[in-house]
Amino acid sequence: MTDWATVEKQAVDAAATVLTGAWDRVSKTAVTQIEAMTKIAARMEADYAEQPPALSESEYQSVRSAQKNALEGILSAYEGIGILAAEQAADAAWAVLEKALVASIPFA
């Protein structure tokens, strides 16, 4: 099973790297959101271990996309953070989680 605490820290670092300069201002909210994303990724991993998994591939793709939208929306609500930077930070954080999921979910 994945060490999700380590993955979460790496996801936070990835978002922080993209948002250098604004990170201090957004970190509290962003970390909370990345924690929630990590819990969902862990739940998806656990779900896939159950056969048959509860989530279909298309539902998985929808949840995955929703996680990125959620973080992007939360970050872009801050003044001084543009939609592009928010999108890049959300992509960077989710890429870390997805890299961990690939090991256990073939269509991740």
Binding site: Q33, A36, S58, E59, S62, V63, G73, S76
Partner: protein, 160 residues
Amino acid sequence: MKPAFLLMALLALDGCAPAYDDVGDKLQVDTQKQIDAGLDRLSGDRQVTDGAARAKSTPGQIEAATTDASYAANIAFYASSLASLTALKSRMQALGDASSAKEAEAVAQIETNLTQVRDEHAKEGMLGAEYVALMKGTIDQQFIPLNQYELQLKAGKKPG
């Protein structure tokens, strides 16, 4: 308007907290409740059709829950919830301050996620209970900073 005066006006606006909008706050709370209620009902129906509650349900209850969990039975829920999100976004944009306009971007992403649920439902006909639970959790999480924003405004603070 002279550029120097315009700059001073903009600086003054930037230093002020946006005004608390009780209509927008109520609309936001109502919209979240509306989405939560619809997704909870959907999740409950799926528990009856396919989940833990199936064994304790009568054939009639299973049939009714199957109908209620279909896409066709939920078209009105999606339409009214998405309309509420559009109204909330418009209200925030109409307030005219930069901060509220940025909050509207967060609402737009809730709209995107609920649209995804609707589209998945339309494509599959039925949604899995786990999928509904994960999407409801995600959308609720998206409302947290918006609710914090309103609470800060209500307390007369400038949101961070």
